[in-house]
C-alpha cells in the first residue's frame, strides 16, 4: 500500500479518531489518575497527598478480596464462553426454519437492563426463595442446597454463570460474522479431498478463525474486569464486601462513600492490571502469529 501511504493521507485517516479518543478517553483517564493522588470527596478542592492512597490500598483487605473474586470470575468465563459460543455459532451457521428466532433468543439477555438481570437471577439463585433451591427441595435433594448468592464463597461462580448467560449471544454473533467471512470454496475443496466434518472444523475453521478467537479473548478479559451491575444487583458486593469485584469496590468507595481519591486509586490499579493482561496476551498471540507466517 505504499502508493496510497502519503503523509497527508495517513494523517487524515488517523486524526479524527485520535482527536476524539484523546479528548474523551485519554484526558479523563489522566484526570482520574491525577485524582488518585489526592484526598477528594467530590465537592470542593482536592488535596494532594501523594502516594498515601496507594499505601492504604496495599493494606486493604477488601481490595484483595475484590481482586480474588474478579480472577475467579475471569477464569470461569474464559473457559466456558470461548468454546460454548464457538459451538453455538457452528450450530447456527446454516440457517434453518426458526434459526433467526433461536439466535435472537440467545442474544436477548444481552439487551435487558442490568438491574433486571439482577432481579431475575435473584429469584433463581436466592437460597431461600430461589428456584434452584426450591427445585432441589421438591425432589428430595435438600441437602444439596447451597448459598448460591449471599454467602461467603459461591457468589463469584454464580456471577460468572450469569455473565455467561448474558453474553453468550454476543460472542456467538461475533463468531458467526467470523464464520461467514471464510470463503465457501475452501470447504468445498476440502470436502472433495475427503475431509469429514470434524476434520474440516479442525483444519480449516479454527485456523481461519484465529483472529476472531483473539478478539473474543480480549473482549472476555476486558469484559470480565468490568463486570459491575450483575454483582451490584445480586449481592451489592456483600455480605460485607465478600463478593465485591474490582469495579463494584471502586464504585462503592468513590460514590457511596464519597472517597473519590481513594476510589480512583482502586480504579487505576484495576485498569492497569487489565491492561497488562491484555497486552501480554496480545503480544504473545502476535508473536505466535508472526512465527506461523514467517
Amino acid at each position: 500500500m505504499h502508493w496510497l501511504s502519503k503523509k497527508s493521507t495517513k494523517i487524515i485517516m488517523i486524526m479524527p479518531a485520535v482527536i476524539l479518543f484523546t479528548v474523551f478517553f485519554l484526558a479523563p483517564i489522566f484526570i482520574s489518575v491525577y485524582y488518585s493522588f489526592t484526598d477528594f470527596s467530590g465537592i470542593g478542592a482536592a488535596k494532594f497527598i501523594g502516594f498515601k492512597n496507594y499505601q492504604v490500598l496495599l493494606k486493604d483487605k477488601f481490595f484483595f478480596i475484590a481482586l480474588k473474586n474478579t480472577f475467579i470470575i475471569l477464569i470461569g468465563i474464559t473457559i466456558t464462553i470461548l468454546p460454548l459460543s464457538f459451538i453455538v455459532a457452528l450450530l447456527l451457521e446454516k440457517p434453518f426454519r426458526g434459526s433467526g428466532v433461536v439466535q435472537s433468543m440467545i442474544f436477548a439477555p444481552n439487551v435487558i437492563a442490568p438491574i433486571l438481570v439482577g432481579l431475575i437471577w435473584l429469584f433463581i439463585l436466592d437460597p431461600k426463595m430461589g428456584m434452584i433451591n426450591a427445585i432441589l427441595r421438591s425432589i428430595g435433594l435438600s441437602d444439596y442446597q447451597q448459598q448460591w448468592i449471599g454467602g461467603k464463597t459461591l457468589t463469584p461462580y454464580s456471577v460468572a454463570f450469569v455473565y455467561l448467560w448474558q453474553v453468550l449471544g454476543f460472542y456467538t454473533t461475533i463468531n458467526m460474522a467470523g464464520l461467514r467471512s471464510i470463503p465457501a470454496d475452501i470447504y468445498e475443496a476440502a470436502e472433495i479431498d475427503g475431509a469429514n466434518y470434524f476434520q474440516r472444523i479442525r483444519k480449516i475453521t479454527i485456523p481461519m478463525m484465529k483472529n476472531t478467537i483473539v478478539i473474543n479473548t480480549i473482549l472476555i478479559i476486558t469484559g470480565g474486569f468490568k463486570i459491575f451491575e450483575t454483582v451490584k444487583q445480586l449481592t451489592n458486593g456483600g455480605p460485607n464486601h465478600m463478593s465485591d469485584v474490582l469495579v463494584t469496590y471502586m464504585y462503592d468507595t468513590t460514590f457511596t462513600s464519597s472517597r473519590y481519591g481513594y476510589g480512583m486509586a482502586v480504579a487505576t490499579v484495576s485498569f492497569v492490571l487489565c491492561l497488562i493482561f491484555s497486552i501480554i496476551y496480545l503480544v504473545n498471540v502476535g508473536k505466535s502469529l508472526e512465527q506461523k507466517e514467517g
Binding site: 485519554l26 478542592a45 437460597p127 448468592i149 449481592t235 456483600g238 465478600m242 457511596t256
Partner: protein, 457 residues
C-alpha cells in the same frame, strides 16, 4: 513528522487535563450562553426573567418521579405556585444516587440548582467550600416561623450561628409490627429485649420471620441505630471523632453482642444477605414477617395496603444492661434542603422568592398539606385532625410522634462524616451476617477510622 504529531497529542492531553481540572468558573459563562434547557445549571437567563413578571427558580429533588414518589413536596409546590402566580418553581428529580452525583458535579462547575436536597455529608462539604447560602437572617428574625419547628430541627445544618439548610423530613425510624401475627401467636407487643427474644422464638416455631431485613442495603439499619443510642452512642462518639476514645469500648461491645445474639436467635430472615430493603418491605406486607425495620416514610404505603388495620409502630426494645435513658425515640432531622450561595449573592430577588417558598413549605399551610393531605410526618408542629379511620397507620405514627420518649438531636449516622456512614452500617450488618464477631466489628471501625483519616476531620 508523525513523532512530532504524537508529541503534540501528548501535550494536548496534558493541557486538556489541566484545563478541565482548573477552570470551573469561566465555564459557567459559556454554559449559560449556550441554548441549554439544562435544569441543573443555574442559568443567568433566569436573572433576566426576574426583571419581567415571573421569577423562576430550580428545585432539585432526590427522587426521579416527584409526583408519585414525593407527593407531599409536589403538592406543596403546586399550591404555592397557585397562590403566587409571579413565582415559578422548576422541579427536577433523579434517583437518589444519581441526584447525589449531579449535585457533586454541579458543585465542580459552579452550577448548583437554586434549591436542592442534599445528603448532610455533602452539604457540610458544600458549606465549607462556601457554596451554600446562609439562611439565618431570613429565618431567625421570624420567631413565629422558628417556633413552628419541632425541637432540634433547625440545628441540622447549623454551624457557628449560620444556618445552611432546613431538614427535608424527619428521621422517624422505628420498628413496624403486624399485630395480627402477634395475636395469632398469642404474643404481646414486646417492650424489653427479653420480650423481643421471646417473640422471636415463638415466631420461628411458627414459621414466621420475626423481623424482615435486607442487609444488601446496608443503610436500612435504622432501628439498630436507635438501639445503639440506648447503649451510649452519644456518650462516646465525640471522643471517637476527636481521637480520645475508641469504637471498641465496653458499652458499644455490649450492644454489638446483642446484635450477634439477635442474629443467632434467628431474628432476621435466612437470606437477609441476598435481599434488600424492597424485598424486606414486601416480605412484611405479604404477611410473612411480623416486624419490619423502617420509618415513617412507609406510612402512606402501609395505609394503602391490606394490613392497614393491624400495622403499628414502636421505637424498639429497651435493654436492661443499657446506658442511660432507655426510652429513646428517633425524631431527629433528616437530610437538608439547601440554597445555593451563588443565587443569594447574584440574584437577591430570586433568593427572596425561595425564602418565601420555604416559609410557605414549613409554615402552617405547607404543614397542613404535608400532614393532612399526604400522610407524611412534617418537620413542623401539626395539631390538626387526622382521620383515624381513613389513615389508621398514620394516626398511630402521629401518636408515637407526640409521646414523651426523648429523641437525640441527630440520628447517629448523621453525626458521622459522610464518608464513614457506610462503614458504620457495614460494621453492624457484618455482625448480623456473621462475618464479624462483635470485637472484630468494632476493631474494624477503629481501623477504618484511622485508614480513612477521619479524626478531627
Amino acid at each position: 513528522m508523525v513523532k512530532r504529531i504524537m508529541g503534540l497529542i501528548l501535550t494536548g492531553t496534558m493541557i486538556m487535563s489541566l484545563l478541565a481540572c482548573g477552570k470551573a468558573d469561566t465555564d459557567t459563562a459559556k454554559t449559560t450562553q449556550s441554548d441549554s434547557n439544562s435544569s441543573i445549571s443555574s442559568s443567568s437567563e433566569d436573572a433576566s426573567n426576574s426583571e419581567g413578571d415571573v421569577i423562576t427558580f430550580t428545585f432539585a429533588e432526590h427522587v426521579a418521579d416527584i409526583e408519585n414518589q414525593a407527593p407531599q413536596v409536589y403538592a406543596v409546590v403546586q399550591e404555592f405556585m397557585k397562590q403566587n402566580p409571579d413565582i415559578k418553581i422548576e422541579m427536577t428529580g433523579a434517583a437518589q444516587d444519581e441526584h447525589t452525583q449531579k449535585i457533586k458535579l454541579a458543585s465542580q462547575s459552579d452550577s448548583l440548582p437554586d434549591l436542592f436536597y442534599s445528603l448532610k455529608g455533602d452539604a457540610d462539604a458544600l458549606a465549607e467550600a462556601g457554596m451554600l447560602a446562609d439562611l439565618s437572617e431570613d429565618i431567625l428574625n421570624d420567631q413565629e416561623f422558628v417556633d413552628g419547628f419541632l425541637p432540634g430541627m433547625l440545628s441540622v445544618m447549623e454551624k457557628d450561628g449560620a444556618i445552611y439548610g432546613l431538614p427535608a423530613e424527619i428521621f422517624c425510624n422505628g420498628i413496624w409490627y403486624n399485630k395480627a401475627l402477634f395475636d395469632q401467636c398469642g404474643l404481646e407487643i414486646p417492650v424489653t429485649y427479653e420480650d423481643l427474644m421471646n417473640c422471636v422464638k415463638v415466631f420461628n416455631e411458627n414459621g414466621i420471620v420475626p423481623m424482615a431485613r435486607g442487609t444488601k442495603d446496608v443503610w436500612s439499619s435504622w432501628s439498630l441505630m436507635t438501639m445503639h443510642c440506648r447503649y451510649g452512642f452519644f456518650d462516646h462518639i465525640d471522643g471517637i471523632l476527636s481521637g480520645t476514645d475508641k469504637w471498641l469500648n465496653d458499652d458499644y461491645l455490649r450492644f454489638y453482642e446483642k446484635l450477634q445474639d439477635m442474629a443467632e436467635q434467628g431474628t432476621f430472615p435466612d437470606n437477609a444477605s441476598s435481599i434488600g430493603y424492597w424485598e424486606a418491605t414486601e416480605m412484611f406486607l405479604g404477611g410473612q414477617a411480623a416486624m419490619f425495620d423502617s420509618g415513617a416514610w412507609d406510612t402512606k404505603k402501609f395505609d394503602e395496603s391490606d394490613l392497614k388495620d393491624s400495622i403499628g409502630f414502636w421505637w424498639g426494645p429497651t435493654f436492661e444492661d443499657g446506658v442511660g435513658n432507655q426510652e429513646i425515640s428517633m425524631k431527629a432531622p433528616s437530610h437538608p434542603y439547601c440554597v445555593s450561595a451563588k443565587t443569594k449573592k447574584e440574584d437577591p430577588e430570586k433568593y427572596q422568592a425561595i425564602i418565601k417558598f420555604l416559609k410557605f413549605y414549613y409554615g402552617p399551610e405547607g404543614t397542613e398539606i404535608i400532614a393532612a393531605e399526604n400522610q407524611s410526618v412534617p418537620v413542623t408542629r401539626y395539631e390538626g385532625e387526622i382521620d383515624a379511620d381513613k389513615y389508621p397507620v398514620f394516626a398511630r405514627v402521629i401518636e408515637r410522634m407526640n409521646d414523651d420518649w426523648e429523641s437525640p438531636d441527630t440520628c447517629p449516622n448523621m453525626k458521622l462524616p459522610g464518608q464513614f456512614e457506610t462503614t458504620y452500617f457495614e460494621s453492624m450488618v457484618g455482625v448480623i451476617n456473621g462475618i464479624y464477631t462483635p470485637e472484630e466489628a468494632l476493631q474494624f471501625l477503629d481501623d477504618q477510622t484511622e485508614a480513612q483519616g477521619i479524626i478531627n476531620k
